[in-house]
């Protein structure tokens, strides 16, 4: 009788479970359909139809347009080169951090990651302050040599874009190769050594096969980020260099060629999907490899011995190299803060920028006062965080709701389906998201009166992959058996979630939430495309002021963003490790 009761209860419970799952899928699905797939289909419509007829004429026109071809090639070329340079600098640095243990290592590592989490527009501003024509480096150069022409030109040059991209993405390689070096099996190396293998041979045949998957997945990630680079190329590239992202933006906004822009966005989406699928493939292989190996390699102390002077010199070179990288990554950030206290003209107070926050002098240019921009930014970021978290928890719930039938577990149809529909938002660039929203909603009240809703939703779509990733990795640490036991003992689905799952994923939720907050805080490409009237954000404000000679006010705005980002980042560090992966 007792068991019959239990069975009955289990049946009720599983019915409840199913309805919860259905509800969650419905909520998540309708969000995606309404704000992702519908806008996306609008892009398809603009790209592939004329009237109601399917046509490939725009497609052919776009793909044969020599300008588009050269920008496509440029996009590939700069992403490829940025990736290579990041690898060349990042792999040795990753090796250093993996092998040696020293005081302040984590702090340095964390500080070096900050550029990556900073808004692109802030990075750009820091770059202009340090490397610009009248920036620090060129001023020092002129002062030292008396030559009145800049040593580095970042505007309208290929190298300017490359330096900025390397600065921005270097930490991805460093962080992602540390586990690679740590996973190297020392035993194999020792065996190879005892059999008389040369160092070069060991590197090529023993170490390389073990780290290649990590390297490829990290490199692909940098490739994706630089392939979709917007703000940096928009401002540094002038007309000569445009990524597809910039080209699409200009077609839509300056030439009003909606069909051309949509077609190019479609092409970019296809390319992105290919890269992302490749990335996911290599990334899953690194996870397989990482299993069961930990901490074999590493934690050596930095030491100088009196006898081995060659080792000392190479050690010294190594430290100098890391030190140079540190200066390279920190200087633009420090420069922004210093610039915000640098009076732009004689007789101006160092706090002028901060006082300007409370004035309306720049109102016509910024469409709002700087303080309002700050408040808008914080509001959008807060809303984005809340929505992203709800949706990401839904998503994780759908993906991992398999405790009851673990033994006969197969990847269910829903899971397959869900993982496919999730890849697509990941592969969609910010500009594509924005133009989809724009094309779908541009004649509705939501666009005309409440465009901030669209901005927030776009931010949510951009953040979901990051947030769900960190929640998912927390969820994966849950012992599924525990859920099964709880269920057998008669705990309801909700109770299991509240008592077991939630405490486990709490850290993941905090990290993911802050990540969403930080992303929304500095998001520029999509907001800049969608923005209307007074709903600007700080990032947009900075972009409007970046070309004026007085960098003090934009530097002030950027300093605020830097400060908030660093706080966010520190909190993440408190709660867990940062996931740079998508």
């Amino acid at each position: 009788m007792f068991s019959a009761n239990l069975k009955k209860r289990a049946r009720v419970d599983s019915g409840l479970n199913k309805s919860i799952i259905v509800l969650v899928i419905l909520a998540f699905g309708s969000f995606l359909i309404l704000f992702f797939y519908a806008p996306l289909s609008k892009i398809f419509q603009f790209a592939l139809t004329e009237g109601n007829q399917l046509t490939f004429s725009y497609f052919i026109e776009t793909i044969t347009n020599p300008l588009n071809i050269s920008f496509l090639l440029f996009t590939f070329a700069q992403a490829f080169l940025s990736m290579i340079i990041c690898l060349i600098l990042g792999i040795p640095a990753g090796y250093f951090f993996a092998k040696y243990d020293f005081k302040g290592k984590n702090l340095i590592l964390n500080l070096m990651t900050i550029p990556f989490v900073l808004p692109a527009i802030v990075v750009l501003l820091g770059f202009i302050v340090v490397y610009g024509e009248s920036g620090w480096i060129n001023s020092i150069w002129t002062g030292l040599t008396g030559i009145n022409s800049p040593i580095i030109e970042i505007f309208g040059t290929f190298e300017g874009i490359l330096i900025a991209h390397v600065f921005y993405n270097l930490s991805v390689i460093i962080r992602m190769t540390i586990p690679a070096w740590k996973s190297v099996d020392i035993e194999q190396i020792n065996v190879a050594k005892s059999l008389g293998a040369s160092n070069w041979f060991i590197l090529r045949k023993v170490i390389f096969p073990q780290i290649i998957n990590y390297l490829v997945s990290a490199a692909l990630l940098v490739f994706v980020y630089t392939f979709n680079s917007f703000a940096i190329v928009l401002y540094l590239g002038e007309v000569r260099f445009q990524t597809l992202e910039v080209r699409i933006y200009k077609l839509m906004k300056s030439s009003l060629d909606f069909n051309g822009g949509a077609t190019l966005a479609l092409i970019q989406l296809i390319l992105n999907t290919i890269i992302i699928v490749l990335y996911l493939f290599f990334e899953s292989r690194t996870r397989q490899m990482a299993e069961g190996k930990d901490g074999i390699f590493g934690n050596e102390k930095i030491s100088f011995s009196k006898k081995n002077w060659r080792k000392n010199i190479s050690m010294l070179l190594f430290i100098t190299f890391i030190f140079t990288l540190m200066i390279f990554t920190f200087s633009p950030i420090i420069a922004i803060v210093i610039e915000s206290f640098q009076p732009y003209a004689d007789g101006i107070s160092p706090f002028w920028g901060y006082q300007q926050l409370f004035s309306t002098e720049y109102m016509p240019l910024l469409s709002n006062s700087p303080l309002r921009l700050l408040l808008n930014t914080l509001l959008f970021a807060t809303l984005t965080t809340i929505l992203t978290l709800i949706l990401s928890i839904f998503l994780v719930f759908v993906l991992r709701n398999r405790y009851q039938s673990l033994k006969k577990y197969r990847r269910s149809l829903t899971e397959n389906f869900v993982s496919y529909i999730i890849i697509l938002p990941m592969a969609t660039s910010s500009i594509t998201l924005a133009i989809g929203m724009f094309l779908l909603f541009n004649n509705t009240t939501i666009y005309l009166e409440y465009v901030w809703v669209l901005i927030v939703l776009t931010h949510v779509l951009i953040s979901i992959p990051f947030a769900s990733r960190s929640i998912l990795s927390a969820y994966n640490r849950i012992d599924i058996e525990m859920l099964n036991v709880a269920s057998t003992l008669g705990a309801s689905r909700f109770r299991i979630f509240a008592k077991i799952e939630f405490p486990y994923i709490f850290r993941g939720i905090v990290v993911g939430g802050i990540f969403a907050f930080a992303i929304s805080l500095g998001e520029f490409a999509a907001s800049n495309f969608l923005v209307r009237g007074e709903y600007g954000t700080l990032a947009i404000g900075i972009s409007k002021l970046i070309k004026t000679q007085t960098l003090q006010l934009p530097a002030t705005m950027a300093s605020i963003l830097v400060l908030i980002t660093i706080i966010c980042f520190l909190v993440i560090q408190k709660f867990g490790d940062i996931e740079l992966k998508v």
Binding site: L67, A77, P150, V239, S255, L256, T548
Partner: protein, 404 residues
């Protein structure tokens, strides 16, 4: 414990910021009685506050007049086109005699025959828009403006008798800043200047010289500095370390250095800057830019907009044009300061190239010309080839090694 305090702090921060910014958004729902779109340098240096001026004239309070400033005239048009089904703006200021073709094609304006037109010369009106979709408020020629302290007749003896060809042969292009014609109206004016001078064989347009305008840009593209707006070009021009003392600007620009109330040097001393035009076929050639003000099709406040346009073309405003917008005022009753008249080139004294390109030819070819210009500027095929070779090499090496 520590963590929960941190979380609590964050929640407080979130909610308080959310709360306050919701207010920030709500407050903005003011009912504007007039919305004006213009570019950011309009009447800006040293500055005449025309919103205040119009507020005093009309009695509409300043808070109810909304001025939206965008980077360049081109953005005014695109913004208005994006909003054309539900217009926000009532008046657009700054669309010129080239952009008008886009504006008319996109139907963003409606004709308005302001009574103030009686004081504006027929010729200007006809050159801008005989149908009155756009009414001229100022004009001036595009010219190459240079800083005399850095480049002058002793360093370049021919400076007062140059042709566009000479810019290449004397390597002046390495000192020149131009604006991107796809984004900026003076930049576009200069592009049309080169087209009118050299002609375009692909549409059998002779121009002055019967050559191909693309060749000039091909020759110069590596040496030019191209900026997105006049303001950005001026930043480059005025910072000495850039070493670019020539920029595409206006024939009135020298007046800026001489007559500016704050730093003008006055007419007694030698002027700090000058302009040159191009002297093909013994003519003094330049492109004329006429800037206009127009009434938005479907303007929410049409009556106020019309009243504003009348006022904008009246002497009260027009007398501020020369020394604040640094152009010739369209209203011929306006008194112009003698300093300005002495230093700014009068369009009537030069040979205007605009007549070579009739309006229908301009509107048919404009988009094409812009994208072909981009094609001349964007040329990095060599770099791409190198990279492709490297990557193909690397891949094949990898394959070969694996086979072993």
């Amino acid at each position: 414990m520590k963590k929960s305090v941190l979380i609590l702090l964050f929640i407080i921060l979130f909610t308080s910021s959310a709360f306050r910014s919701i207010n920030a958004i709500e407050i903005e729902a003011t009912d504007y009685e007039l919305t004006i779109y213009s570019y950011e340098s309009l009447l800006a240096d040293p500055g005449y506050d025309f919103v205040e001026g119009y507020s005093n004239y009309s009695g509409i309070s300043e808070e109810n007049i909304r001025l939206v400033l965008v980077e360049d005239a081109n953005t005014i048009v695109t913004q208005a086109v994006l909003e054309k089904n539900n217009p926000v703006a009532d008046v657009l200021i700054g669309i010129d005699n080239v952009l008008i073709h886009t504006a008319k094609r996109e139907n963003i304006l409606i004709p308005y025959s302001s009574p103030s037109l009686e004081n504006i010369s027929e010729e200007l009106i006809d050159n801008l828009d005989p149908e009155h979709y756009l009414l001229p408020f100022d004009y001036g020629i595009i010219a190459l403006w240079y800083d005399i302290s850095r480049i002058n007749s002793s360093s370049v003896p021919e400076i007062n008798n140059l042709t566009l060809d000479d810019i290449i042969s004397l390597e002046l292009d390495k000192m020149l800043v131009v604006e991107d014609p796809t984004l900026s109206s003076p930049g576009l004016g200069f592009l049309l200047w080169t087209i009118a001078v050299y002609g375009d064989p692909s549409i059998n347009f002779e121009g002055l010289l019967g050559q191909d305008w693309r060749d000039w840009w091909k020759e110069t593209s590596d040496n030019l500095r191209i900026t997105s707006s006049w303001g950005a070009a001026f930043d480059v021009y005025s910072s000495e370390e850039e070493n670019r003392p020539i920029m595409v600007s206006y024939g009135t620009s020298p007046a800026y250095d001489v007559c500016h109330p704050l730093w003008g040097v006055g007419t007694e001393v030698d002027p700090p800057s000058a302009v040159f035009l191009s002297n093909e076929n013994e003519l003094e050639n330049a492109w004329l830019q006429i800037e206009g003000i127009g009434l938005v099709n479907g303007a929410p406040n049409e009556e106020n907009a019309k009243d504003f346009i009348d006022w904008f073309l009246s002497e009260e405003l027009q007398e501020n044009i020369p020394l604040n917008n640094w152009m010739y005022p369209a209203n011929n009753q306006t008194e112009i300061e003698s300093c300005f008249l002495e230093t700014a080139i009068n369009p009537e004294d030069v040979d205007i190239l605009n007549y070579l390109i009739p309006p229908n030819m301009l509107s048919e070819n404009l988009d094409n010309w812009k994208s072909e210009w981009e094609l001349e500027i964007v040329d990095f095929s060599s770099i791409v080839m190198i990279i492709l070779t490297i990557s193909v090499g690397a891949i094949s090496y990898n394959f070969a090694r694996k086979r072993k």
